[in-house]
Symmetry: C2
Subunit: 200 residues, 2 copies
Amino acid sequence: MRVSKEKAAENRGALLQAASRLFRKRGIDGVGVADIAREAGLTHGALYAHFPSKDALAAEAFTHGFEGNMADTREWAGGRDASFQDYVEGLISPDMRDKVETGCPMTASASEVGRQGCAVSESFAKAFEEMTAMLEGSLSDAVPAPERRRLAIAAVVGQIGALAVSRAVIKSAPSLADEVLQAVRETIGAAHRAESVHRE
Amino acid sequence: MRVSKEKAAENRGALLQAASRLFRKRGIDGVGVADIAREAGLTHGALYAHFPSKDALAAEAFTHGFEGNMADTREWAGGRDASFQDYVEGLISPDMRDKVETGCPMTASASEVGRQGCAVSESFAKAFEEMTAMLEGSLSDAVPAPERRRLAIAAVVGQIGALAVSRAVIKSAPSLADEVLQAVRETIGAAHRAESVHRE
DNA sequence: TGTACATCAGTGAACGCGCGTTCACTGATGTAC
DNA sequence: TGTACATCAGTGAACGCGCGTTCACTGATGTAC
């Protein structure tokens, strides 16, 4: 039965939200379109009125999840006027590791994206650039411009790698899971300090 | 029909080899047991004479692939008496990114392992420790002992993260794919230099 | 060494199930008069 | 504003297919005598 434009837009949003959450939790290959539709309170047929295929949904859901996560991060950072070091401490932490379903989709799906279609790869690349720009902006003038981008890229990669590894080993080696996060935080901190020009 | 002990052991090895290669290429959820058996020249039923379940096979295949990759790396490193910097340059490179099927299983499956069973997590943790120990051993006395392990962990995480990100964006942003590798290499290099004690 | 037979690696059909996608249909919405 | 009707979001059965796993069976291997 037909539904109002507002309701249709709302349903589309619910599908994106459900897809985004489930893909992060169980992986893109680990979730079926029926699961997504059910969580959004619809049937699987309705999904195809909004998205041409699962792959197209995956790409949009990736962007949707990333934008939501970026908004949360910006709010968190804005409240404390976050420095680069604040970002590194906040993003590469046990809290972030345990927040899979609402956390960063790049981290949740890093090693799967290369096997998905081109649309998902594009969503990932855009998200990576946006995250990098945010971190780059948090670096002070003490770090010369070219090294700013380099450090920002390394921090984002460090977050993605550290959270993925920490999640991978937490079932069998919980203390290693925490050690990994700390090691990456400290190493990025050391590189940050090394690249800073101190003139007094 | 029954088969000689030697042939059975050989078939088991072929199953592990096929599983290991396919899991790296298409992901654990992206490969069926029939695909694996077919590549090993057997039928899917035979697989269950060697492994109790797909999950158990995945854990063994992970270790198998990792051991093979470690042997290759040790041979490569032994030939040139590799330093920490050599490892970083060699492991975080476009060559390694393009070598998915025979490359490091940790890198190929990083974000999927957390969703697999405990056996796979254990294989991952063991592999991570082994890789870390190898890199730690490559660091000279110029770096104090506690920082050696920290740098080694960061380098392994850096490799896993950098290759995963590079593979994720290569379809849509090839130049970013290379930039990421270089940025991580240089940042680990900077941290390495910063942690080295220079007494003259 | 030769024979009888238990073992078991491997086969292939079958199990129930969930997958992504399609499609004829429904009926409230939105529009044209 | 009231009525007639085209639109189309959503339903649910059905499509063909592949999934992981089980199992009765085969027949060469390995062993006991």
